[in-house]
Amino acid sequence: MIDKTVPDAATAVAGIRDGATVMIGGFGRAGQPVELIDALIAQGAGDLTIVANNAGNGDTGLAALLAERRVRKIMCSFPRQHDSWVFDGLYRAGEIELEIVPQGNLAERIRAAGAGIGAFFSPTGVGTELAAGKEERTIDGRRYVLEYPIAADVALISARTADRWGNLVYRETARNFGPVMASAAATTIVQVDEIVPLGSIDPETVVTPGLFVDRVVAVGRRAWLDEDGFIGGVDIEGRPLDAVEEVAR
C-alpha cells in the first residue's frame, strides 16, 4: 500500500540538510505552509537557499526562519513589504544574499524544472537590469531573454486536501505556487487541512497528481472554514475577529 501520509510536521521535514535549496509555497499568507516552516525551524537545517515569492512577513513563518540566520540566500520576486522587517534588516546588514526574479519568470522557471525543459526564451525582463548579462535573442521580431530552470531539493507547500497517494486539491488563491513547486523538487512535502480516503477526490479535479508528492501531513482543519460555505469572522491573517478586537483594545 502506498501511504505518503506522516503523523506530524516534524516527521514531514526530517532529513532536510544544511545547504539545501528549499522552495516555500504561498503568496503572502495564502498558501504559506506555516506549520512546515515552524517544523523546519525546529529541525535545525541551516545555510539554506530559499525559493519563494516573498521574503517573509512579520515575525512568524519564513521571517522566523530568516531571523534564526538559517538562510544564506533567497530567490524571490517581492521581498520588500510593509512587514518584511526581518529580511530588510538582514539584507541591509549584508547577511543575506538576494536574487530578484520577476514573478512570471519565477513561476515559469520552476515549471521548467519540473517539466524537463533545459531553458526557455522569456518575454519578461527584456531590456531591464534584471536581464543584464543574460542571453538575448529576437524571435519573429520580438525580443526574449534566456531563462534557466529553478529546481530544489525540497518543496514545502500547503494544500487543502490530500489522499494517501499524495493527490492534492487546493483552495482559492492559496493554490498559487504549490503545483509548480511540487513538480520541481526532489522531495515535496505538503501540509493539508485534511487527508481523505483514496478515491474521495474526483479524478477530474485533482490539481497536483500524487506522483509529484512525497510526504503529506494533516495539520487540522482551519476553524474558520466550513464545508458548506465560508463562515467568516476572521481578519486577513485568519485570526478570529473577536481576538482582533481584543488586540485592538
Partner: protein, 211 residues
C-alpha cells in the same frame, strides 16, 4: 495653475475606456480604484495574477477569507464564472497576450513607450519587482495611470527613462491628472486635455514635443 482632475475622476475616465467582455488586470495601488467605476451592468472580467479570473469586490468584513486575496494581498471575492489556477498558468495568460488591458502605475513613461515603475534605483533601496515586468509586456494594451508631475514638479512623461526600466516600448496609453496621452510612433499624442490644459501648456509641463 492648470486643471488637475481627481484620482477618482481619473479612475472613472479609465473605466469608461474598458469595453464589456474585456479581461483586465489592475495593478497594485491607484489602478485598483478603476474597479470602483466599472459599470455594474457591464461584464468585465478582472484577472489577479495570484491565480483568479473573475475577481469580485472586497467582501463584507465578516466574510474575509485569507485564502482569497488579490495581488495586493487584500481580501477579495470571486464572481459566478470565476476560475482559479496556479501561478505558472496565471502568468502564462499574461505573458501569452491573453489579457486585453492592464492598468499600471509609473515613476516614468518615455515617449517610446518605455515604462519605469519598479525601482527608483536609489542606493540602499531593497529591490522588489513582483509581477510588474510580466504585466508590462503581457497585455494587448498597457495603460498607465499616474499624476503627470512628480512631487518635485518634474514630469513623469519623459524623453527617456532615467529610472530602471520595467519594460521596453510597452505602454500604449497614459492617463494623467492633466491629460490622456497615446504613445504613437515614439511620441506622445494628446488624446484628451482636461479642463484648461492645452497641448501648449502640456508641452511646457513635460518639456516634450507633443502632438
Amino acid at each position: 495653475m492648470t486643471t488637475r482632475i481627481t484620482r477618482a475622476a481619473l479612475a472613472a475616465r479609465i473605466a469608461s475606456d474598458i469595453p464589456e467582455g474585456a479581461v483586465v488586470n489592475l495593478g497594485i495601488g491607484a489602478p485598483t480604484l478603476v474597479a470602483n467605476f466599472l459599470p455594474a451592468d457591464l461584464e468585465i472580467i478582472l484577472h489577479t495574477e495570484n491565480g483568479l479570473l473573475g475577481m469580485g469586490p472586497a467582501p463584507e468584513p465578516d466574510r474575509i477569507d485569507p485564502d482569497l486575496i488579490n495581488a495586493g494581498k487584500q481580501p477579495v471575492t470571486a464572481l459566478p464564472g470565476a476560475a482559479y489556477f496556479h501561478h505558472a498558468d496565471s502568468f502564462a495568460m499574461m505573458r501569452g497576450g491573453h489579457l486585453d488591458v492592464c492598468v499600471l502605475g509609473a515613476f516614468q513613461v518615455a515617449q517610446n513607450g518605455d515604462l519605469a515603475n519598479w525601482s527608483t534605483g536609489a542606493p540602499g533601496a531593497i529591490p522588489a519587482v513582483g509581477g510588474a515586468m510580466d504585466l508590462a509586456i503581457g497585455a494587448k494594451q498597457v495603460f498607465v495611470m499616474t499624476d503627470l508631475l512628480a512631487k518635485d514638479g518634474s514630469s513623469k512623461l519623459v524623453a527617456e527613462c532615467s529610472y530602471p526600466l520595467t519594460g521596453v516600448g510597452c505602454v500604449t496609453r497614459v492617463y494623467t491628472d492633466h491629460a490622456v496621452f497615446d504613445v504613437v510612433d515614439a511620441r506622445f499624442v494628446v488624446r484628451q486635455a482636461f479642463g484648461d490644459n492645452t497641448v501648449e501648456t502640456l508641452r511646457t509641463l513635460t518639456g516634450l514635443e507633443l502632438s
